[in-house]
C-alpha cells in the first residue's frame, strides 16, 4: 500500500470521527452547552484554529496524476496534495521579495511577477506554500503526540488510582523518576537513541509529556472511586472493567479535553527548539525559522522568510492558547463555581 493512500485513509477516518463527535456533542446536553459556551467566548480563535486545521487537511489529501507538470517526470509520478497542486509551478530561481517583479539579488525578471505574497526562499520556493505546508506538520506534532501521551497517561493514572497498592507504588515511582529528569534533556536523549523521524520525535515528546496528566488522572480517580455512585455500582456487582469504563472514564473526559488543548501549544513550541538543535521534524515552522535566522544577516536583509514562519507559528499558538483558556473556563467545575 503506498504512503499517500494511507494518508488519505487517515483523512477519511479523521473526518468520519469528527462527524461522529459532532453528532455526539449535539445529542449530549453537557457537551453541547460546553461547545456553545466555547463558541460564545472565543469565536475568532476557534475560526483561526479551524482554518489551520483545514489547511492541514487539504495538505493531507494526496493522489497521483491529473496535473500539468510539463516535462517534470518526478512531479508526474509523485502523489501531490491539494496544497501542492495549488502551488504547482510557482518556483523561481532564487530569492524574491514579497510582491516583487524581479529577483531580489541580481534583478532578473521573475516568472510569476507580483504573485508571491510572502516572497520566495533561497531555492526559489514560494514562502506562502512552505508556510501552508507547515500547518500539517504542526498539527501532526500536536495530534500524534497527544494520541500517544493521553492514552498512556490514562492507562497508568487510572490503574494507579483505582487499584492502589503495589500498582500505585510502581506508577508513582515511574512518574517521579521521569519527572526528575529535565524535560528537554530527556527529549533529546530519546531522539538521539530512537533515531530521527516524525514518529520518533512524537514518541519522545509523548514520553516526556504524559507524566503531568498521569498525575492528574491518578488523583482524580482516587477521588472518584470513593464517591457514592461508584460504591453503589460496586455493591450492585458491576465488574471492575465496567466500573472504570462507564463510571470513571466519563468523569475524566473534561480533563482529557483540557489537557489536550493545553498540551498542544507546548508541544509545537518544543518542536521549534528541537529544530534548532537539528533534531526537529522536516518541513516544520521551527525548521523554517532556524534556516531563515541565518538569512537576516544578509545584506540587504531577507526578512520575509522568518517573518512568515514566525507569524504562522505565533498565530496558531495564540489561537490555541485562547481556546485552551476558554475550554478550561467552560469545562473546569472549579472555575464554574467561581462564576456562579
Amino acid at each position: 500500500m503506498p504512503d499517500w493512500w494511507f494518508s488519505n485513509a487517515v483523512v477519511v477516518g479523521l473526518l468520519a470521527s469528527c462527524g461522529a463527535l459532532a453528532v455526539y456533542v449535539r445529542r449530549n446536553r453537557l457537551w453541547s452547552e460546553a461547545a456553545a459556551g466555547l463558541w460564545r467566548r472565543r469565536p475568532l480563535a476557534i475560526l483561526v484554529v479551524v482554518f489551520y486545521a483545514s489547511v492541514a487537511l487539504a495538505d493531507s489529501i494526496f493522489w497521483i496524476g491529473g496535473v500539468d507538470a510539463g516535462d517534470d517526470v518526478v512531479k508526474q509520478h509523485e502523489a501531490l496534495s491539494l496544497v501542492d497542486r495549488a502551488f504547482l509551478g510557482t518556483s523561481e530561481a532564487s530569492y524574491s521579495a514579497p510582491f516583487a517583479d524581479v529577483e531580489f539579488y541580481g534583478g532578473a525578471p521573475l516568472q510569476q511577477q507580483g504573485l508571491h505574497p510572502f516572497g520566495t526562499d533561497i531555492l526559489g520556493r514560494d514562502v506562502l506554500y512552505l508556510v501552508l505546508k507547515g500547518a500539517r506538520v504542526a498539527l501532526l506534532i500536536g495530534g500524534v503526540t497527544s494520541a500517544i501521551a493521553i492514552p498512556l497517561a490514562l492507562l497508568f493514572g487510572v490503574a494507579a488510582g483505582y487499584f492502589g497498592g503495589r500498582i500505585d507504588d510502581g506508577v508513582f515511582f515511574l512518574i517521579s523518576t521521569l519527572s526528575a529528569i529535565p524535560g528537554l534533556l530527556l527529549l533529546i536523549a530519546l531522539i538521539m537513541v530512537l533515531g530521527q523521524s516524525t514518529l520518533s520525535v512524537c514518541l519522545a515528546l509523548a514520553v516526556t509529556s504524559w507524566v503531568g496528566f498521569c498525575r492528574v488522572a491518578r488523583g482524580e480517580t482516587l477521588k472518584l472511586r470513593e464517591l457514592e455512585f461508584v460504591q453503589a455500582a460496586r455493591a450492585l456487582g458491576v465488574s471492575e472493567p465496567q466500573i472504570i469504563l462507564r463510571h470513571i472514564l466519563p468523569n475524566l473526559a473534561h480533563l482529557i479535553v483540557i489537557t489536550y488543548v493545553l498540551l498542544f501549544s507546548g508541544l509545537v513550541l518544543s518542536e521549534a527548539v528541537l529544530s534548532w538543535l537539528g533534531i526537529g521534524i522536516q518541513g516544520s515552522w521551527g525548521q523554517m525559522i532556524v534556516q531563515a535566522s541565518d538569512e537576516i544577516s544578509r545584506e540587504p536583509v531577507v526578512w520575509w522568510n522568518i517573518g512568515a514562519a514566525g507569524a504562522a507559528l505565533f498565530g496558531l499558538i495564540l489561537a490555541v492558547n485562547f481556546v485552551g483558556d476558554a475550554v478550561r473556563d467552560v469545562l473546569d467545575p472549579r472555575t464554574l463555581r467561581e462564576e456562579a
Binding site: L185, A189, V193, V273, W276, G278, S293
Partner: protein, 320 residues
C-alpha cells in the same frame, strides 16, 4: 521531623537510582557502542581502531551483571555516577568534571540575574494585575501575557540579536568575557531576552495564585469587616500566596546551575548549557548522560528542599 527528612532522602535516592537505570538502558543497552566510536573517530576507520577505542572507554565489557558479575557496564555505570566520576568526553577525551566546573561560573552569571529579575519584575506586576482583577487593566495584562507566551523563544533571540545588537549596536551580538568590567555588556542582551521570554508565563502564574487566594472566604470576611483593598492585598492575599510562590521558586533554584541551553548557545556563553548543546550536536553521549544525571540529582534535591521550606513557612503543614 528528622524521620521525615530521612525518609524523604531515602526516596530521593531511590528515584536517582531509577534515573540511572533509565540512562543505562538508553545509552548503553539501546545504543550501539560502535556508533559512539564512529562519532568520535570518524566514519572511515579500521575495525581494530574502533575496538581499541571501545576498550579504552570501557564500552567493550559485558552489559549486565548476569553475564559477568565482577566486570560489567551496569555496575561500573552506577558506581562511577554515584562517585561523581564522570570520565572523559566521548568527543575529545577531556575530563567531563573539569568542563563542568569551568562552565558553572558563566552559567550562574547568566541564570542568577535572570532568576532574580524575573521575581522582582514578575511578582509586583502580577500583584498589580490581580489588584485590578476583572477590570480592563486585568484583561489587558492577561492579554499581554498570552501574547508574550505565544512567541517562540527562537524568535525572541533572533529578533533581539538583529534589532538591538545589529541595527542599534547597543550590545555585542554574542560572546563572553568573565572580566567584571565588561561582563555586563555581554550578559545584558541574553538577560533581557530571557526576562521578556519568561515574563508572560510567570506573571500569569503568579496572577492565578493571587486571584485564587483573593477569592477565599477569609478575604471576603476581611472585605466585609471594612479592610481596605490595599491592606487586604498586603496583609492577607500576599502573605498566604507566598507559600505556593516559594514552592515554585525553591524548586527552580537547582536548575540555575545547569544554565540555559538556548540563551547560552545563541549568545556564545561558555556555560553548561553550551556544553550540553555541543554534546547534542556532536552526539557526545557521555557528556549528555552526565548532564541528565546532574539535572535529575538537582531536581530531587530541589524537591526535598521545597518540602522542608513548605513546613517552615506554613504552620499548618506538619512533617510526619
Amino acid at each position: 521531623m528528622l524521620a521525615y527528612v530521612l525518609r524523604r532522602l531515602a526516596y530521593g535516592v531511590v528515584v536517582v537510582f531509577g534515573v540511572l537505570g533509565l540512562l543505562f538502558v538508553l545509552f548503553f543497552a539501546v545504543t550501539d557502542p560502535d556508533d559512539i566510536a564512529r562519532q568520535s573517530l570518524g566514519e572511515r576507520v579500521p575495525p581494530d581502531v574502533i575496538e581499541a577505542w571501545k576498550a579504552d572507554h570501557g564500552y567493550d565489557r559485558p552489559l549486565w551483571p548476569w553475564q559477568d558479575w565482577d566486570d560489567n557496564q551496569l555496575f561500573a555505570h552506577y558506581s562511577a555516577m554515584l562517585r561523581f566520576d564522570f570520565g572523559r568526553r566521548d568527543s575529545d577525551d577531556t575530563k567531563i568534571s573539569d568542563r563542568l566546573l569551568d562552565g558553572m561560573g558563566p552559567s550562574l552569571s547568566l541564570t542568577v540575574p535572570l532568576f532574580v529579575l524575573g521575581l522582582v519584575i514578575g511578582i509586583p506586576l502580577a500583584l498589580v494585575v490581580a489588584f485590578f482583577r476583572e477590570t480592563y487593566i486585568d484583561r489587558l495584562g492577561v492579554l499581554l501575557c498570552v501574547l508574550a507566551m505565544s512567541v517562540s523563544i527562537l524568535l525572541y533571540i533572533v529578533g533581539a540579536q538583529y534589532l538591538i545588537a545589529k541595527l542599534l549596536r547597543w550590545f555585542p551580538i554574542s560572546g563572553f568575557d568573565p572580566d567584571p568590567s565588561v561582563i555586563v555588556r555581554f550578559l545584558a542582551l541574553p538577560i533581557l531576552v530571557g526576562v521578556v521570554a519568561g515574563f508572560g508565563g510567570e506573571v500569569r502564574f503568579y496572577r492565578t495564585i493571587f486571584v485564587e487566594e483573593g477569592s477565599r472566604d477569609y478575604v471576603r470576611t476581611a472585605r466585609a469587616k471594612g479592610a481596605g483593598e490595599p491592606r487586604i492585598m498586603r496583609a492577607h492575599v500576599l502573605r498566604n500566596a507566598w507559600i505556593p510562590i516559594l514552592t515554585q521558586v525553591v524548586l527552580s533554584i537547582p536548575f540555575l546551575f545547569t544554565g540555559s541551553l538556548l540563551l547560552e548557545s545563541f549568545f556564545g556563553i561558555p556555560g553548561l548549557g553550551s556544553l550540553t548543546v555541543d554534546a547534542i550536536r556532536g552526539n557526545d553521549f557521555s557528556t549528555l548522560r552526565t548532564m541528565v544525571y546532574i539535572g535529575a540529582l538537582l531536581f530531587v534535591l530541589g524537591q526535598i528542599l521545597t518540602d522542608l521550606c513548605y513546613a517552615l513557612v506554613d504552620p499548618r503543614v506538619r512533617l510526619e
